[in-house]
């Protein structure tokens, strides 16, 4: 099934994707000429393969469940936000807030991700081939963020139980984020994630950032200084 967004609307595409795809035999879908359109392939709830041939704008593949969505270009703000399951693969770079507040699934970004990657993530796994910008994994609650390049300022600020693995340099850690020892289980988790994302790095090159859990309880003696 091919949708050419030079001739058809995003509403045509998403209307089809929201229909009964089981009854249609779970067809592979190809999207041509996205040209930066917003909300391409959002809210899909079926195990279909969707290939998007070009750059997308805001919120592409948001709220995905079950689908494997391949973006063969760059993604605008909020790619795969709110994803619950399935996978989203961005072949280029991603703008701000990639994978924001997502509960599950795998988001792979081959190149860099901008600021706030994985903000408030709630269970998604995100693997970024390049760098991530400032405030990535801000208030991240669950899931794993893997950064094969460098991380910007305030990485993991106010982190809950999400875990961050970074291969390169970290400009600065956010409040309550700390470097923690890598265990055999971390190596195993990381090997699996890197393998599924298609990156050939040695897990031993990565460091683990987790929550120091000092913000979990109100500390009256801190006098508002954190």
């Amino acid at each position: 099934m091919i949708f050419d967004l030079a001739r058809q609307s995003v509403r045509d595409l998403n209307g089809f994707l929201h229909g009964d795809l089981q009854a249609k035999g779970l067809p592979d879908v190809q999207v041509l000429s996205p040209n930066g359109a917003h909300s391409v392939a959002v809210g899909v709830n079926a195990p279909v393969k969707i290939a998007i041939e070009g750059h997308v704008g805001y919120y592409a593949a948001g709220m995905n469940q079950h689908a494997d969505i391949d973006i063969r270009g760059n993604a605008g703000p909020g790619v795969a936000e709110g994803m619950c399951s399935g996978s989203v693969h961005v072949r280029g770079f991603a703008s701000v807030a990639a994978g924001a507040a997502a509960h599950g699934g795998l988001l792979v970004i081959d190149q860099d991700a901008s600021l706030r990657c994985g903000i408030s993530m709630k269970g998604i796994d995100i693997v970024v081939g390049g760098d991530v910008g400032d405030y990535s994994a801000f208030m991240a609650q669950a899931g794993r963020l893997v950064v094969c390049g460098n991380a910007g300022d305030a990485l993991g600020d106010s982190l809950y139980e999400a875990v961050i693995y970074v291969r390169g340099a970290v400009a600065s850690l956010g409040a309550d984020a700390e470097e923690q020892p890598m265990t055999a289980q971390d190596h195993s988790v990381l090997r699996d994630l890197l393998g599924r994302a298609g990156f050939d790095y040695d897990p031993r090159e990565f460091r683990r950032i987790g929550s120091a859990r000092k913000l979990y309880h109100w500390n009256v003696d801190a006098n508002q200084e954190y």
Partner: protein, 299 residues
Amino acid sequence: MCGIVGLLLKKPALRPALGELMLPMLIGMTERGPDSAGLAVYREPVAEGRCKYSLYVSNGRADWPAIGREAGKRFGSDATLDANANHAILTARADRDAIAAWLADAHRDIAVLSAGQAMDIYKDIGTPAAIAERYGFSRLSGTHVVGHTRMATESAVTPAHAHPFTFGEDFCLVHNGSLSNPNDVRRQLEHEGVRFVTDNDTEAACRYIGKRLAEGDDLAAAMTKGFDVLDGFYTLLIGTRDTLAIVRDPFACKPAIVAETDDYVAISSEYRGLAALPGVASAKLFEPRPRQLYRWQVQ
């Protein structure tokens, strides 16, 4: 929300097509800014000693031929006036004070939108497509252009509130975002003798940076101070006679994407604004990083 677009042509042979290349960029940003649009186009500078003024008549009616003859009598026979709907470009050997005095005296409904040797300004209310049609944007030629589509969030929708804003000569600025301290910046500048035309937040940013440049800072020094002074969300696109520049606030709250080829540098809020450019499929694409000045010179 607003849209910004910028285009600088590296190859002189492309300069006659500046408007044609830019037009799909501006129209591509209509959803981000449907209520007003405007642009500054930079062209071959006028002869030394002459200055161009972009004029705008607020009531939509002006007897431009008569006003042109009047300018000729007042500022010398080589003064020219090129009318374009309710805008006109006056070129004359006269400084800004002389022009202002003449207009205050004889044409109170005509505003001076800009002054300089290279820059012309057009801005108005309506959709980008309607404004482009009204002023023939597709026929513009020049070295670079700074454009804007506006969705007003903090001040009125009038031609004066539309972007670009200007300061001094050949300096303009457009803005996507909202400043949280424009009144502080305005009060400080007014104290230093700067006059404002509107209550628009972008005008405060424009006059702040423009004044720093007028006092001798280069763009990098002006923006270093600007990052400390301007609070809020902003992607700013700046034009000078020979430069196109962009900065994003430290949180990169507002988007921007750059496409660079051997032929041009194109900047837009979103890729949608770049998609129609020839050769964009093989262009180097990147998002400007926060708190970093990017600039390109006319060669």
